[in-house]
Symmetry: C2
Subunit: 387 residues, 2 copies
């Protein structure tokens, strides 16, 4: 087990009607708030009105910035930064899913920075100070509601880049599973894939003797798998929605990373795909992850055997560990298909023409991954396996 | 799953030599520090010198209060409160195990209170403000390094009482598994029992649909069980010590309680025993928990079957679930014995004479437990089963 620091102080309010407390929680951080969200769904569902009403009860002055899209854009972030600076905003409240929260984090960092916010994503500068962030979560997927990270797309070249800082963890996050009842099946399934991918990125490590975190990863994966079909077949099953929602947070709050180094190549490869094609992040991950597994499993067959056995209940064949490992990969792929995810690039109309470009662009800042280091040719081969 | 609030912002520094950062972490909270510890073991090990040297590098003025004993006493707490008030202490640093940390929490609360600190333990008043607390952990067991709770014994009547408040969670906790190499086997085993008991108290709940937290509990229990004999046979196994140490924190940081209500009757019964007899808390739990299980398992055989199967790898006999449940209880008892714990009251020279008194005193504020409500006669019967 590696040495580590871990701190995640996000206050979670979990359960029915918890959004009624958004005013009480927000007012601890000031009276001028930027309400950040996506499109009209929070208005048609009535959530917008409930949030605004709770904020007004605390006499909070509300500024608004709507229009966050999936794969959120740096141009909107820059607008948000200007609003915050011009109006001395105290707190940013993100009402939405991972895209809205990631965009809010970028604004929070940019609001306390003299330069251009994109600097944080290129590594030109790193976050020191930021505005506090609050969250009302509507899509369980990205784990951004307690994570330190944010992923933003720069339309100028379609670069999708990540950055993180412990100060960017939201101060509070409100998680009401009822708000997820109305998510379309495809979006629910993308979220399930995303949270599983967050765990898998951490699970495939070269660190030995990480039994506790291995088992915590497996526990969370099994819970997601066991509840996935329930929420798809019965979208208003409170308990299954709650299991999925809380699992999505645990998947990415960094507890499961303690003492180990994760891989993250599949995320990086997926960012190249969704940076260009604007497909859903979860769908991209369902395509990339099984291909990545097929390409790297020989690097540590024992770990893939453990994965197959403990997560997918594959019986271990002591005479043919490779067969066991491959069975686990097959189960992963079959599961993604069973929840309606694409598992090949051709299914989402991505053909050969961009593979070389994605492999080149994805590795231009160095090789990807930690479990196995992937160079341009490796990424090309993984994308070929994902066709 | 129940609605819940969860927030645990304790900063963890985990790994080799991490105590070197205690000055850097402490200085964030001020320059006047009360160093709180037990006996001479931290001096003979050299830990005391390393801590003091790190604090002096930051020009921190150190006040000292040593002498914390297992089952820490309110009299020493009151001394600490006076030191803090008279010297305007900024931060209390606990160097030790659960007893030292619990004592530090009591002092931290008492230092910001006009009345007598014992009021918090009788329920006469509740904590609102407290001094910040830092921790250098030397015994993985109580989980007090990130928990909100504290247990103190009042010598006037030998009452052992618990209280908790989210503000009492330490600001930082330094966990270096190497510091636990020199723990005597008995103390190591008591710690293992204590952390397992913290999980079991949470595991036995009447809440339905708590799959994620069930599985996280099982993951942590399995890790502790798998590493227990290694640390006893090879006390300097870094990796096994690290698994045990981190598991002890996870067992009691309240993540495993989210969405469920635990039982806690076994802890309350044990507090009656160790309040009178001053036996090690872990040893008391090893005696009480199997007896409690035998007394209550019929209340929810399915849960005990799940426990037997998932934690102890007992094959489920679908034709005789009771047999499966009982096999899990037997495994628990055998495990405690295998790590050198007593599993009956007579082994620790406690005989009939005090059973009635403990049953009476333990229930005088109302019935114990949530999984099954236990009245005086129930507690008496459990203690009889524990003979």
């Amino acid at each position: 087990m590696r040495d580590f620091e871990f701190q995640n102080g996000t206050k979670i309010l979990f359960g029915k009607d918890q959004e009624q407390y958004v005013g009480r929680e927000s007012t601890r951080y000031g009276k001028k708030l930027l309400l950040h969200y996506g499109g009209g769904s929070i208005k048609s569902s009535g959530l917008y009105d409930r949030v605004v009403s709770s904020l007004r009860e605390e006499d909070i002055e509300i500024f608004e910035l709507a229009g966050v899209k999936p794969n959120p854009r740096v141009s909107l972030v820059r607008e948000g930064v200007i609003i915050c600076k011009e109006n001395n905003i105290d707190l940013i409240l993100a009402v939405g899913g991972g895209s809205v929260i990631d965009s809010a984090k970028a604004i929070a960092a940019g609001a306390k920075y003299e330069g251009d916010v994109w600097d944080f994503y290129t590594g030109k500068n790193s976050v020191s100070d930021c505005l506090p962030i609050g969250v009302v979560l509507t899509i369980p997927a990205a784990g951004s509601e307690t994570s330190a990270g944010t992923v933003i797309t720069n339309e100028d070249g379609f670069y999708k880049r990540a950055m993180g800082h412990n100060n960017l963890r939201p101060k509070f996050s409100i998680l009401n599973p009822v708000l997820t009842y109305t998510l379309p099946s495809f979006q629910t399934a993308c979220g399930i894939t995303d949270m599983m991918a967050h765990i898998l990125e951490r699970y495939f490590t070269n660190e030995r003797n990480v039994e506790l975190t291995d088992r915590l990863c497996e526990a969370t994966l099994k819970t997601i798998i066991n509840n996935a079909h329930t929420v798809l077949e019965n979208p208003t099953s409170y308990d299954a929605r709650a299991e999925i929602m809380w699992s999505g947070t645990i998947a990415h709050n960094d507890l499961l990373s303690t003492g180990r180094v994760g891989d993250w190549a599949s995320h990086d490869i997926e960012h190249e795909i969704s940076g260009i094609y604007d497909i859903a992040h979860g769908a991209g991950l369902a395509i990339v992850f099984p291909a990545w597994m097929k390409y790297v499993y020989k690097h540590d067959i024992n770990r893939f055997v453990q994965y197959a056995h403990r997560v997918w209940n594959v019986e271990i064949d002591p005479f043919d560990l490779e067969k066991t490992a491959l069975a686990g990969i097959k189960k992963t792929e079959e599961f993604f298909r069973s929840i309606g995810m694409p598992i090949s690039l051709t299914e989402v109309n991505i053909f050969d023409e961009h593979i070389d470009e994605m492999a080149k662009k994805g590795t231009e800042r160095g090789p990807l991954g930690n479990f196995v280091k992937l160079y341009e040719e490796d990424v090309r081969q993984i994308l070929q396996l994902a066709k």
